[in-house]
Symmetry: C2
Subunit: 318 residues, 2 copies
């Protein structure tokens, strides 16, 4: 499939070129394997201390929860039901057994919250905590990044910018407000929302780990379409408002450029209506907000208050 822009994707392209026929279907949220009349979805997601989290910011149990929730979010983006989780954890030599048990407990809690058992894993020592979480799920009708068509609406679940608000505070040496901290430390994988959207006509879906700006580009590339985003509509997390003001950024831009919210970005048919939104919000207890439209062409065009705005993506690979 066509991969979107960004340095991590450049590296994936180089690897895919080297592997040739040995690589199949790289670049979506999950690998898909036939599984009787359903599909098995598998994903593996790496969370490294000092890159994705710091233990002077969050507790070991939160680092485990967050790593696992981020991996489960890839199943949500396929509309899959989680069936099992396998963590591979590198443990610093100076870490206590209590820290390991707390971190693994956070992984188990995030998995347990969506009904998935921990079914295997691996342990090693290492210079820093490194948490690779593999998740397996089953989907009746998996939704890839590649099915968006012109005239589809572009929608997001929940609110954006909360995790970024926490990161910006920590980077200034401050304590984030509780809502921002929770968005970063305890994200909720949108499993129920992903299943609902898959069952109600979702054409293309992915989870917002690289931010709306970055992930819209991935959806556009995979579906070979252009995404037009109306940033006024972006649902902004309450915690992001003050944080955006500090940076003198429009709140919607702050939210659209923030990463790791683990909400879903989804293309829905143009006749998806207000009644459908109410049904979603009643079933899933989170918001569903239209933020744009699919057009012919390529790339992403964002406007705020009638003016084009170039959005920065969020790069984990740093």
């Amino acid at each position: 499939m066509a991969l979107g822009p960004g340095p991590e994707f450049d590296r994936i392209r180089s690897i895919a070129h080297r592997l040739g026929a040995r690589a199949h279907g790289l670049g979506d949220d999950c690998a898909l394997l036939p599984d009787g009349d359903r599909t098995l979805a598998v994903s593996t997601d790496l969370s490294v201390e000092g890159v994705h989290f710091r233990l002077d910011w969050i507790e070991p149990a939160e680092a485990g929860w967050r790593a696992c929730a981020g991996a489960l979010s890839d199943l949500a983006a396929m509309g899959a039901v989680p069936v099992g989780v396998l963590p591979a954890i590198a443990v610093p030599r100076q870490a206590s057994e209590d820290d390991l048990v707390a971190l693994a407990g956070g992984i188990g809690d995030a998995a347990g919250a969506v009904g998935a058992p921990v079914i295997g894993g691996d342990l090693s020592s290492g210079p820093v905590w490194s948490i690779a979480i593999t998740v397996l799920g089953r989907a009746e009708r998996p939704v890839t990044r590649a099915g968006a068509s012109p005239d589809d609406g572009i929608w997001v679940t929940g609110t954006l910018g909360g995790a970024r608000a926490a990161l910006e505070a920590w980077r200034r040496g401050e304590t984030p407000e509780p809502g921002a901290r929770a968005a970063f430390a305890r994200p909720e994988p949108r499993i129920a929302a992903g299943r609902w959207l898959s069952a109600h006509g979702a054409r293309a879906m992915l989870d917002l780990s690289d931010g709306l700006a970055g992930d819209a580009g991935h959806l556009a590339a995979a579906s070979d379409v252009r995404l037009e985003l109306a940033l006024e509509s972006v649902p902004v997390a309450a915690a992001a408002i003050a944080a955006a003001k500090r940076l003198d950024l429009p709140v919607q831009q702050f939210a659209a450029e923030g990463g790791e919210d683990y909400e879903l970005l989804v293309a829905l048919p143009s006749d998806f209506a207000a009644a459908d939104v109410r049904e979603f919000e009643e079933a899933c207890r989170i918001a569903l907000t239209r933020v744009g439209t699919v057009k012919r062409g390529g790339g992403v065009r964002a406007e705020l208050a009638g003016r084009p705005l170039t959005l920065r993506g969020y790069d984990h690979f740093r």
Copy 2:
């Protein structure tokens, strides 16, 4: 299931205790999930620079091959056919793109050698190379560690001690001989052998990553039996002979205490005969050697030349 001895297993026990009902079936080579009339086998295996390998010892492509072969070896130990591989790679900031492509190429080559495509994965930066490989396979009749019964024979594939010979040389600052180096850098996952043994009555099986000494203890614990090993019979890699002499150790002890040979340790029914061995060796092109017998009781008892010998296990978690 009952877990064997060793510090890594102590940690797994602590984690399993914390997870309670959130953990299922930890401690075997693979997690098993029903998959129509077959079984899906999944395993994840972590390989960390400075712990499992060093890049002044082996090339990036070999580090990738070795990490992937070690993970595939867990599928071999279940009698499973590989269907896909997902690498999650942490890349040091100073590493070149060529090194990443070479390492990922080694992963792809090891997967391709047993017919499995790379179907997904993840990239991050990190302080050292850290390679988490998830493998998926399908088994008609998965063989766990838990089925050995009194009177079964205990057998190993191939020869042992080669990887340890390489490690001992590198640790002395020397260059290992080519056979030893290849055993460490390019192990062959015993996929065909595992399938053959599964189809010919294997009752319990695991792969030798912790060494015969350590892994015999895991098989004994999981099957709730005692293993009596006759060390005279241990098939010793040619490269291990000189290496054992340097340490003034009996060659069989050197081989039995070495780790990471990725051969299979298997319990076969007592009527498994010389004709069966010939059939195996013709089909799989490697040796199959009886090294012991299953008895009632617990633990492992090893004898060399009629004298009991206490074997040291091989601990990766250091």
